[in-house]
Subunit: 203 residues, 2 copies
């Protein structure tokens, strides 16, 4: 059973501190914390792109299954019982110069490979469907310990995923060969559109 | 204060019956029920398009602000306090034959005009940004009482919105002139891609 899907980040919470004491599963907590800053950097990058008219890219809201809602008089509707759902698509989508783009952003503390468990089968299927519609699908992979971020076309991830069902992670060497390192900078933090431009030019 | 944003539909709930007795605001209830079937028809249309390789379009999850989560041992994380947020973008986005498409679907019981309150300023701004990136933005308007559904390019909605800030609704006559009626059918229910094709061809 999935207790804490990967897409949950601090921005979905009003206060991380208020929820922290209730957390009993250290793995879940670490996962959320690891993803936080990378995700914040991508969100900041997207805000920069939007403000400068470069691209319109938004993170989709965290999918939540709502079970019970109270509607008090003279107050906001309050959701009192809900559960996290697994995302059926990727987290980010948008438009750049007429092109549809669609990506997932993930982080690892591994140094030599990227764990495939970060990608659900639904997401792989979604990326295939996007490619079939001539959209640009990719993943942004952050090796936190190495402080290296890569742009990997979805086609490379899908090929590896389909060919190596038994393998649990994709080697960094292969990511370096089939993807492109994104030079992180001050503003915007993760200029992935620069890499996308080369992909579009070459297609 | 917004108690019940427009994007909330039955599909976000596990059981509408369980929440229904708690509803004290008849307006909210009617709004949700009115939107339900039209939204379900669009979702079914998108499933058809996906299954047949025609387009990849998904409804974004309902944005929820999560305040409190319990993490019980050996059980799913349970959200115990959360609130509906107003969407900053449109509800639907996707890709058709390389083109980015982005739309909002709304319903009214009015017979002569479509109330503009269905569209928030954020959404109008979002549609402008999408058009600036050469995406295809539009709205699907269902006149429930008339059983007529229209495809209206976002440019027409934006022009009217900007020019007639004082008016509370857009006349149906104008929608008929500037938009296109979608012939609803059995499968897919709301074949909006057929209209989009003519827009793309003419652009």
């Amino acid at each position: 059973m999935v207790n804490y899907p990967g897409g949950i980040v601090k921005s979905d919470f009003v206060s991380a501190d208020r929820t922290a004491p209730k957390r009993t599963r250290s793995e879940s907590v670490n996962f959320a914390k690891r993803g936080m800053s990378f995700e914040a950097e991508i969100n900041a990058t997207n805000e920069y792109y939007l403000a400068h008219g470069i691209a319109v890219v938004h993170k989709k809201p965290t999918p939540v299954q709502i079970v019970h809602v109270d509607y008090p008089k003279r107050a906001r509707a309050k959701i009192t019982e809900a559960y996290f759902r697994q995302a059926s698509t990727t987290d980010y989508s948008g438009v750049y110069n007429g092109h549809y783009l669609d990506f997932e952003a993930k982080e690892t503390n591994q140094k030599q490979s990227f764990p495939l468990k970060n990608f659900h089968k639904h997401q792989i299927e979604h990326m295939k469907a996007v490619l079939a519609q001539q959209g640009f699908a990719f993943v942004l992979l952050n090796f936190a310990t190495l402080a290296e971020t890569y742009f990997l076309p979805a086609s490379a991830l899908i090929d590896f995923y389909d060919a190596h069902a038994g393998l649990k992670s994709m080697p960094l060497d292969l990511i370096r060969t089939q993807g492109a390192r994104i030079p992180t900078q001050q503003i915007p933090r993760i200029p992935y559109i620069e890499i996308l431009k080369t992909q579009i030019g070459g297609s």
